[in-house]
Amino acid sequence: MEQPFFRVMAVSWLLAEGIFLVYARWAAGAVRGEEKLQVRFVTACAVLFILLAGTVFFGEPLFKALFPRNRKMDLFLYRSSLWNLFCVLWVIIEGLIILYIARIDRAMGGQEDIPGRFSAAAVLLVVLPFAFYFLYQAQLVSVVGRYRLGIVAASRISRFFIRICGFLWIAFEWAAALLGLRILRRLCRAERIVP
């Protein structure tokens, strides 16, 4: 994430995804007549977003100041960890958005939530990608150190993580599109019934 344009786009996409998440959460509650204030949720998201955006723009100078004798590889691993963190955050946010859309779809179909099932799914959608991210980055650092890999090999391994995340986004986006189609069908069908 060395180019300013890359940084701006990474932060913009995170912001956009975050806004969609807030909307999806709000809509999923409102459809069920539970239009809760989202002040706490939005505040927590905003604080996280500011911290992440701050890290993107000011983290690297801070890293260089803290570790003035860092090798090129250290800087590379720092950048890789940050960029891959953003990738995994997009996966998590997309997953949560789908969960909320599925909730709207179920509510439209008159199905009630099974208590605890939604929370369990949400926790899994957050914990599993984060666990995968930490294990992958730890293994990357470990392999680089033990086998004395160069930047080229390390960047290939780092990019492979982006590829895995990429295919997860696609799967989630298609899932969201299909759920959206179901919602659209329910809406159109209801029009014919309601006078």
Binding site: W26, R156, I170, V194
Partner: protein, 120 residues
């Protein structure tokens, strides 16, 4: 040597820039197709809600989404990851802007339509 080490070393040797670019092109195409479908479905839902509220059809936003769909094949001609990222930013930026604008302006109306369906 552990199996994970072997796997990572294999990726470090074989996942070259050209392999990365090939998979990125396929991914970009699939991703854009998913995004276009999602945006079109969302606009259709918004249109349905607008019709129920007695408002006119959406036009410009459909045009922007189709424009992004027409730009998508250009991803195949990106020569390096940087070029790909610039193109990707334009194509997906367009789609995200349409989705964001629609979420800001239509969400209340969509919600009202969905609530009415639930009541019926």
């Amino acid at each position: 040597m552990r199996i994970l080490d072997r796997l990572f070393l294999w990726i470090g040797t074989n996942f070259t820039v050209s392999a990365y670019m090939s998979s990125t092109r396929i991914q970009g195409l699939l991703w854009s197709a998913a995004d276009v479908t999602l945006a079109l479905v969302f606009l259709e839902i918004a249109d349905e809600a607008r019709a129920r509220a007695g408002k006119g059809r959406i036009r410009i936003r459909y045009g922007l989404i189709w424009a992004s769909a027409l730009l998508t094949p250009l991803l195949f001609f990106a020569r390096n990851p940087r070029e790909f990222f610039y193109l990707e930013s334009v194509i997906f930026g367009l789609q995200y802007l349409v989705l964001l604008f629609s979420a800001f302006t239509e969400s209340r109306m969509i919600l009202e339509a969905i609530r009415n369906v639930r009541k019926s």
